[in-house]
Amino acid sequence: MGLNLIVLVKQVPDTQNITGEAMKEDGTVNRAALPAIFNPDDLHALEAALEVKETIPGTKVNVLTMGPPSAVQVLKDSLYRGADFTALISDRKFAGADTLATSYALKCAIEKIGAYDLVFCGRQAIDGDTAQVGPQTAEKLGINQITNVSMIESIDPKKKEVVARRSIEGGFEIVKSGFPVLVTINDEEYIPRPPSVIRMMTYKNASVEGNGGTYDESYMNSAQVKRNQDVISLWDIATINADVESCGLSGSPTKVKKIESVILKSEDIKMIENTGDAIAQMVHELIADHTLG
């Protein structure tokens, strides 16, 4: 008896390799200058789901992402790695969503899939590092959650139970939960498999070239996308039956008041000669201002 698994993934700007040009002069992030990548923790989540699929025959892995049309790239990548079905949740009305509005849209999309056993998410996304969307989605679905999971210890499709190892400060917990349950996977144990060459050949036609990360609605209707609806579906706000007021900006209680760029102030640095006297002077300053001693 196979399981029905859902994996939530996100395309993110590669904040780990940010460069000077990625910040605009006004201190905001110039997303166009940043490469868009598969959120690293989400790759671990996908791997966890694919490993469950390998142990329980007949299991289906559904991958959902919410984002602009270019986010189809992470779905394509998921197909190459072994996903069975993917859907892009995309609509202008989702724009400006904070974690709450995002979790609402994801909840609607998950309910469209129907009966499911487990939802896998990455622990957090590198653009915000909030780790909120997983738990918020679980609460909206009214299901249990196990967050910060390093390893699925065992899974029993008959009893409909999962046992997971959850990392906590200074140790771990082994937690058992019935289905359905949402788990968020961290980067400790699951090593993402590379895309399969055979699957790349198979889904080559499902592949749609990205368009540089800019929002282009015409792309949504492109013939290429339409041709591959069996493995990559496009779901807009009407498809997932979401309430417009709860989506995007209007569904987002948090607002960004101010953004400041973190400027590395190299001019503030005090260079100390590598001499006993200069180092002693530095130590003296640090003791005087109670940093040391």
Binding site: T15, Q16, I18, M23, T28, D98, T99, S103, I126, D129, T130, A131, Q132, G134, P135, Q136, E139, K140, Q145, T147, N148, R166, E169, G170, G171, F172, E173, I174, V175, S177, V181, D187, P253, T254, K255, V256, K257, K258, I259, E260, S261, L264, K265, S266, I269, K270, M271, I272, N274, T275, G276, I279, A280, M282, V283, H284, I287, T291, L292, G293
Partner: protein
């Protein structure tokens, strides 16, 4: 005494011990509450933890709502969410704070999702101020300040339209206030009836070890990178740390090279630290490392490469061989003592 409009803190306990971050949050909540002229409330959930309340009053909490049950001894999301949602609905606090621990990051989002209110993760600062948006002006709003985009920007987030305003706050960021034994508070037990369906998670095993390496709690950290050169040479790092009463940290490269165990790793995949002083020895300062230590109050960089990025965030830079610099440092400190 009503806790309406209060600043509320989720008081986290692990194995019956109140977490350090909760005391930090009570201290911060006291500051915020004094500005807002309201009370500080706390919620403590667990089993046999009532006696812990006494210890918390001196930090400025006026009223602690206490929920006890055998099945609440260890945190699990569903019952804790149910309790917090219920208490928040009844007490209508204007602000609720959680530690950005694995528990707080698990619990806070569920509560926010249930109440359809905002939540800002991993705040490094909280302030009270006004906010104008279109034609509306909001007074005394919580500014929730946090790093984003891998630490490349600092964002100030507000959630003016809905109450409570909620935030998780990183451990070690807020200062613990001086306890005032004259401050008195009260505990209000809150009865709850649970059914089995409230406990969908069963904890089969739980292992928590007191960390031998306490990077988070350290005031001073001496960290070594690949430039230390060998496991044996890490003795120099230990020597300096010992002299200064500091903890020993390391870059990922040093850990991967086998110089030192992973417990010591500072950075995005290790521990995030904010000591008073961070001494980076032979660490080039990749963004992943900087993300874990750039908020240190003072940074000293010691590196042979004058172009190493670590110098961009350091307050003191010494271009030189750590084998040469560290002994001078030790000698200078001992002379001042």
């Amino acid at each position: 005494m009503s806790s309406k409009n209060s600043v509320m803190v989720f008081i986290q306990q692990d194995d019956g011990i109140v977490s350090e971050v909760s005391v930090e949050l009570i201290s911060k909540a006291r500051d915020l509450a004094d500005k807002l002229k309201v009370k500080v409330a706390g919620v403590l959930i667990g089993d046999g933890v009532a006696k812990k309340c006494e210890d918390l009053y001196p930090y400025g909490v006026d009223e602690i709502f206490l929920v006890e049950d055998k099945r609440l001894a260890h945190y699990t999301p569903v019952p804790y969410t149910k309790i917090m949602v219920d208490i928040i609905k009844k007490q209508s606090p204007q602000i609720v704070l959680y530690g950005a621990t694995t528990t707080g990051r698990d619990l806070g989002p569920r509560i926010a999702s249930n109440l359809k209110v905002g939540l800002t993760a991993d705040c490094t600062d909280l302030q009270i101020g006004d906010y104008k948006f279109k034609d509306s002006e909001y007074k005394d709003i919580l500014y929730q300040i946090r790093p984003a985009f891998g630490g490349n920007i600092i964002a100030t987030i507000v959630a003016p339209e809905k109450k409570p305003q909620m935030a998780t706050v990183r451990e070690g960021v807020m200062k613990v206030g001086t306890p005032n034994p004259g401050l008195k508070g009260k505990v209000t037990p809150v009865p709850f009836t649970f059914s089995d369906s409230d406990f969908p998670s069963e904890i089969l095993k739980r292992l928590r070890e007191e960390k031998l390496v306490d990077l988070k709690g350290a005031q001073v950290i001496v960290a070594g990178g690949i430039g230390v050169g060998s496991k044996e040479n890490f003795k120099l790092i230990y020597d300096l740390a010992h002299t200064l009463g500091a903890e020993v940290g390391a870059s990922r490269a040093a850990v991967d090279a086998g110089f030192i165990s992973k417990d010591h790793q500072v950075g995005q995949t290790g521990t995030t630290v904010r000591p008073k002083l961070y001494i980076a020895c032979g660490i080039s300062g990749a963004i992943q490392h900087r993300a874990g230590m750039s908020e240190s109050a003072r940074i000293i960089a010691i590196n042979t490469d004058a172009e190493a990025p670590i110098f961009q965030i350091a307050h003191y830079g010494i271009v030189g061989d750590l084998n040469d610099v560290i002994p001078k440092f030790i000698k200078a400190f001992k002379a001042k003592q």
